[in-house]
């Protein structure tokens, strides 16, 4: 299993190390640095690097590499998943302002995920159904692939040992699910009801995938006209974003990003709304659109100046889209009811729906 752990920051300093069995010299990280150099970008550093005596398994999050040193055969996902959990814990712990508040209580409970003696004056349970659309849209606007992935995140603050059940109006939509360990699997298998004693506080109850048979409604469209000409060092750039199948809801938080080809020197653009930035170093264009007003569609138009003398880029840039739609689960999933057993008080219950863009790409 994990022998040692090194934390390496963006500038390549080992700023924290922890050894469990015996101390492994920092020099083992040199192999990692080598690999890092070979990979042009941080995300291309291979997660598994063999060295003569050790294996380095790493995850990259928050611009920090968490490098675990392994000495013998182990399921690599075991280590990787574990490192991610460690990072999650760090994030939970350092993310809040009151670090001291969250010291673990160290209680042993047969419900390992729930601390004992929980007390609240206001008992409340909130569930957020969040769906993300992953899609690739091709040049002509037709959908190449689209799927919906969803999660139910919960914030449960209930006194004592509540036992909750949550049922759906249309559980058949859920094709593939994964649960928080608190969910009773058999109950789901037989009745399609989520039955669980919740952990205290925030947690992810469920992740799901909506079955591929259901056609995915794509809530936005992008009209684009991007052209580079061989003869001139100027190119045209024009995109318009509009709502499509939104079930009458507003599309907001729209953000368009696009990685321009290397040959692009600068862009002079005018947005009809929102703000835009083009970074001439990374060649990344981002346009913060905001809300889409169906009466007046947001657009971004202008010119692209290309490096003189180079030939035109052979691929048009892909457009990545982010957006949010409140009060809508695009798959149509609906929570039927939430019941609590085991405690006498009446909790306050709330359910929120949201649809977001996941990995949403438009090829141009």
């Amino acid at each position: 299993m994990i022998h040692s752990l090194f934390l390496i920051n963006a500038s390549g300093d080992i700023f924290l190390e922890k050894h469990w069995k015996s101390v492994v010299s920092r020099s083992v990280c040199d192999y990692f640095f080598e690999a890092q150099e070979r990979a042009s970008e941080a995300e291309n550093v291979p997660p598994v690097i063999p060295t003569p005596h050790h294996y380095l398994l790493s995850v990259y999050r928050h611009k920090i590499f968490f490098v675990a040193v392994i000495q013998s055969e182990v399921p690599p996902l075991f280590v990787i998943e574990f490192l991610h959990r460690v990072v999650d814990t760090f994030q939970d712990y350092f993310g809040s302002t009151n670090v001291g508040d969250q010291l673990p209580t160290g209680q042993l409970s047969v419900v390992p995920w729930r601390r004992t003696g929980v007390k609240y004056t206001n008992n409340e349970a909130y569930f957020d159904v969040i769906e993300e659309i992953d899609a690739i849209i091709d040049k002509s606007g037709s959908t190449i692939t689209a799927e919906i992935q969803g999660v139910i995140d919960a914030c449960v603050k209930l006194t004592g040992m509540p036992d909750l059940t949550l049922s759906f109006m249309n559980p058949r939509l859920l094709d593939d699910v994964s649960f928080h360990p608190c969910v009773r699997f058999k109950r789901w298998e037989s009745e399609r009801i989520l039955s669980f004693i919740p952990p205290d506080g925030n947690f992810r109850l469920l992740s799901y995938h909506v079955s591929a048979q259901n056609l995915v409604a794509i809530p936005v469209y992008v009209k684009h006209n991007i052209s580079f000409r061989d003869s001139s060092s100027l190119g045209r750039f024009e995109i318009t974003v509009g709502p499509k199948q939104t079930m009458g809801k507003t599309v907001e938080g729209v953000m368009v990003t696009s990685q321009m080809p290397k040959g692009v020197l600068n862009m002079t653009l005018t947005p009809s709304q929102g703000t835009h930035i083009f970074d001439p170093v990374t060649k990344l264009l981002s346009w913060d659109v905001g809300k889409i007003n169906p009466q007046k569609l947001p657009s971004l138009k202008g010119n692209v100046s290309l490096q003189a003398g180079t030939s035109k880029p052979d691929e048009n840039p892909t457009i990545n889209l982010q957006f949010k739609i409140q009060q809508l689960a695009i798959s149509g999933l609906k929570v039927n009811r939430l019941d609590m057993y085991g405690e006498k008080y009446k909790p306050f219950k709330g359910i929120k729906y949201m649809t977001k863009a996941g990995k949403f790409q438009v090829r141009t």
């Binding site: 291309n44 294996y55 055969e73 996902l77 047969v110 419900v111 091709d138 699910v177 004693i197």
Partner: protein, 892 residues
């Protein structure tokens, strides 16, 4: 204070190795702490002690581990398992002794311990699979409730175990398979022989099936490592028709972090070579996004190529076209390779691919062109007949291309097929002879080759040119080139010394060469177990354990049988999760369980599992409709009790089921007369059980005799309960499913230690020794069970406090209700049911003298003023055990 202690321990663990002498000073403190009444202190003391890596204290550590391994707290036992690994790495000499401890801990029923001890097993003695036999079924059944990291370790271990113990389930479906794994392990003849032998008779071992069934739900785990572990288990153990269920879950993992994606994609790549069908439906999930990191892109591409077939190739090629244009040139090059592979694998599209690739030759990007040249070269080799045009086109390219591999490829092509392009070839040689000195080594070698081939076919035009090139090569800096030059010269230039070989020079140079196979780089990875580090690296990692072949003949399956002697009592305790507050139910469930046990025992040979007990639910009228489902879902914690029952005891089970059905029907018909009904059922059950199981222990028969009073108490409480629930029904629909409903059990019930069988006290002594004994056994409950859960999910394990004989007709039972103490945080709530079995009223039942150890507190119940004959009343009291193993004794 405990908090301070914990912090000091953490500090010590960090610095013990650096300052060993100082650390040694503290050892006596730990030895004392190992006996601390608080389990957390005991556990952390052991942890620190085993983290001090000083050889002198090995014996002390050994002793501490041994002691901790029989600790009553499962948490301490878990830490003992952890310490085993540490001691082993400090001093491997201790192996034998440690194996003994491992053997003992493997028998442990706690889900807390299971993962840790299997980990220790894997580190210390992974070859001792004989230790697993007896625990195999238990591990399978506990698996769902083990913590997730433990699950990963156990699943990997069980995969290896199963490959040594069961025969291959692949025999049946092998014939139709394109590839078969077995061929990688065994010779074909063996295979056929086995086929013949097994085909007709293959029936999966029930234990094999048990493993597959119990791991399946874990595909729904949120932990990627668990999902991957199950996937590899199915891949290596399941019949091929069933392995497909893992695809969906693996594809789900692709939504995860890039590192997880990377590992999962690698494994899918290996799988998709052998069994395309598994992932074909998910083809689009592997489409590449421009935002994916390059390593993910190339892996996805690899999988897409593996999945390509006649049906989807046109879609795929269209998709590839976008990839070729990618700004990520490394990826674009990989795509061209992929197109090449598709072209060779699927003959229908070879021409289309070739045309596409030729178009790419006019691409502006050099890397793309170069890669295309290389791929085209390989493709042309497969069918050179009619591609003179392409070769000509490529010869023209030579003027512009600078990438060495591409130039070398073109030269090779022209040389190889120089007879097809007789006019161009000498000209090419002329040009390259001019630039020879500036070329890359790779290109120089090909120029030499081209020269040699032309010399042999067209010596008139090229003799001088070739000699010029050979002369240049003779004085080249690279010895490879000098060597090649010398070799060629000897072969082709006739002189007096040249041997017999030069006669055959033409045959040597212009022999028909086999076309290169364009294969997946994942082709040979399958000899590593999926999901392992070795598979990821494609090389053996230290400590990698080979997955063994399936045995020809399964070893004796009876080794996994667990002796019946392992008191059924224990099992009933573990499995009899019925409602609390109902001593009578306990009786039902127990008797029923006995039945099941005896049934399954006789059928499957000592396999102690049982069905859940629908009758137990049934007595509460309010939930008649839901019963069925709940019954199903409550199976979860008891492993797959019902299903394992299914396979083994068909006949007796059927009988029982019909009995149940009738009683259920009757039960549902009227909810008012629960009292009668309950009685009736109880009678029915008791008669049937006594007739079914004649070997019930004396304990059971005594409870038999109590049945009447018990059932009465039960019916009373049942009545009151149904009343309350119906009231609630009126109030809101939400509360319809009244709080006293059963629920599924996810919880780890095995933490309950087996409790010594209560003994009837011969005298009328008021102090009950049995309670003393029981509480002793249950010390751990004080800490771990108290906070368990709601009242709905309580296992009724009733213990006898006072036998009716010794209590002059007053009987008392108690059990731990496993709900947060209502009397205070530290209090364990104990439910005592007092039953009057005499025909007179008993008055003023209260707690008399208490004999409690210091620190312990007890919250008494309110005195019961009067108890009717045959009546029973349930009271609760709280006891603060102070996390200790001490006993509480008191007088009634």
């Amino acid at each position: 204070s405990f908090q301070i202690k914990k912090l000091v321990y953490v500090y010590l663990m960090r610095y013990a190795e650096e300052q060993q002498d100082l650390a040694l000073l503290s050892i006596s403190t730990f030895q004392r702490a190992l006996k601390d009444p608080n389990q957390l202190i005991r556990a952390s003391a052991l942890r620190v002690l085993s983290s001090i890596r000083v050889p002198i204290i090995v014996p002390i550590m050994m002793l501490a581990i041994k002691e901790a391994s029989s600790d009553l707290s499962p948490y301490v036992r878990k830490n003992a398992a952890h310490a085993i690994q540490k001691l082993y790495s400090l001093d491997p000499e201790q192996k034998e002794m440690l194996i003994e401890v491992i053997e003992k801990l493997l028998k442990d029923r706690s889900t807390l311990v299971a993962g840790s001890v299997v980990m220790a097993f894997e580190e210390v003695c992974p070859d001792r699979i004989d230790l697993i036999h007896k625990n195999y079924r238990k591990l399978c059944n506990l698996l769902v409730d083990v913590e997730e990291w433990g699950q990963v370790v156990i699943i990997h271990m069980l995969t290896r175990y199963a490959r040594t113990q069961f025969v291959s389930p692949w025999k049946d479906d092998e014939a139709g398979e394109e590839y078969s794994e077995n061929n990688f392990y065994e010779s074909d003849e063996e295979q056929k022989e086995k086929d013949r032998k097994v085909k007709a008779t293959y029936i999966m071992d029930p234990d094999h099936r048990l493993l597959l069934r119990n791991t399946k739900p874990l595909l729904q785990s949120r932990n990627a490592a668990v999902v991957m572990a199950v996937a590899q288990l199915y891949w290596h153990l399941a019949p091929k028709s069933e392995a497909g269920i893992v695809s969906k879950s693996l594809v789900r993992l692709l939504r995860s972090n890039r590192e997880v994606q990377y590992i999962v994609l690698q494994n899918i790549a290996t799988m998709s070579i052998q069994r395309k069908g598994m992932f074909e439906p998910y083809l689009k999930s592997f489409y590449v996004r421009s935002t994916d990191p390059t390593m993910i892109k190339t892996l996805k591409l690899e999988i897409l190529t593996n999945l390509a077939n006649e049906a989807n190739i046109s879609t795929l090629l269209r998709e590839f076209q976008t990839y070729v244009k990618s700004q990520d040139k490394q990826f674009a090059a990989a795509t061209i390779q992929a197109i090449g592979r598709c072209a060779t694998n699927i003959t229908e599209v070879t021409d289309t691919c070739l045309n596409g690739l030729v178009c790419l030759l006019s691409n502006r990007d050099e890397i793309v062109v170069a890669e295309s040249v290389v791929v085209i070269k390989k493709l042309l080799q497969t069918q050179p007949a009619h591609h003179g045009e392409i070769i000509k086109h490529m010869a023209k390219l030579l003027d512009n291309i600078t990438v060495p591999v591409a130039r070398a490829s073109i030269l090779w092509l022209i040389g190889e097929y120089c007879e097809r392009v007789p006019k161009i070839a000498p000209d090419v040689l002329r040009k390259t002879a001019k630039s020879f000195t500036n070329e890359d080594d790779l290109v120089k070698l090909q120029i030499l080759n081209l020269g040699a081939k032309l010399y042999l076919t067209n010596s008139k035009q090229t003799k001088l040119l070739t000699q010029y090139v050979l002369n240049l090569g003779k004085y080249d800096q690279s010895y490879d080139i000098r060597d090649r030059t010398r070799f060629i010269r000897q072969l082709i230039v006739p002189n007096e010394k040249s041997g017999a070989l030069s006669k055959y020079a033409k045959k040597i140079f212009l022999a028909q060469k086999p076309a290169p196979l364009l294969e997946s780089p994942f082709k040979d990875r399958d000899h590593f177990q999926l999901g392992t580090l070795s598979h990821t690296l494609n090389s053996r990692a230290t400590g990698y354990l080979e997955l063994s072949d399936w045995p020809e003949v399964a070893p004796d399956p009876s080794v996994r049988n667990v002796e019946v002697a392992e008191s059924p009592k224990e099992w009933t305790g573990i499995l009899g999760k019925t409602k609390k507050e109902k001593p009578a139910e306990k009786f039902y469930s127990e008797s029923e369980e006995e039945e099941d046990e005896s049934a399954s025992t006789s059928a499957s040979g000592g396999y102690l599992e049982s069905n859940l007990h629908p009758t137990a639910w049934r007595t509460s009228g309010s939930e008649s409709e839901k019963e069925d489902k709940e019954e199903g879902s409550s199976d979860e914690s008891s492993g797959s009790s019902s299903s394992s029952g299914e396979s083994s005891d068909s006949e007796s089970d059927n009988k029982e089921n019909t009995a149940k059905k009738t009683s259920r029907a009757a039960d549902e018909s009227d909810s008012e007369d629960i009292k009668k009904k309950a009685k009736a059922i109880s009678r029915k059950r008791s008669t049937s059980s006594s007739s079914d199981t004649e070997s019930t222990s004396s304990e059971e028969s005594s409870s038999d005799s109590k049945s009447e009073s018990d059932s009465k108490s039960d019916s009373e409480s049942g009545k009151s309960r149904s009343a309350t629930s119906s009231k609630k029904e009126e109030k809101t629909i939400q509360d319809r499913k009244a709080p006293n409903k059963q629920d599924v059990f996810l919880l780890d019930l095995d933490d309950f230690c087996p409790v010594p069988t209560p003994v009837a006290v011969p005298t009328a002594a008021v102090l009950s020794p049995s309670l003393t004994a029981d509480l002793e056994g249950l010390s751990l409950l004080s800490s771990s069970v108290i906070d368990v859960t709601t009242q709905v999910s309580v296992p009724t394990k009733t213990h006898e406090l006072l036998h009716r004989m010794s209590g002059k007709g007053l009987a008392a039972h108690y059990h731990f209700s496993r709900q947060p103490g209502i009397f205070g945080d530290c209090m364990v709530s104990v439910q005592v049911t007092v039953t009057n079995t005499t025909d007179q009223k008993i008055e003023n039942i209260h707690i008399g003298e208490k004999k409690l150890p210091p620190g312990m507190r007890m919250h008494e119940f309110n005195p019961i003023e009067c108890l009717e004959p045959a009546g029973s009343i349930t009271v609760s009291m709280g006891i603060d055990f102070c996390d200790s193993t001490q006993t509480a004794s008191f007088q009634l």
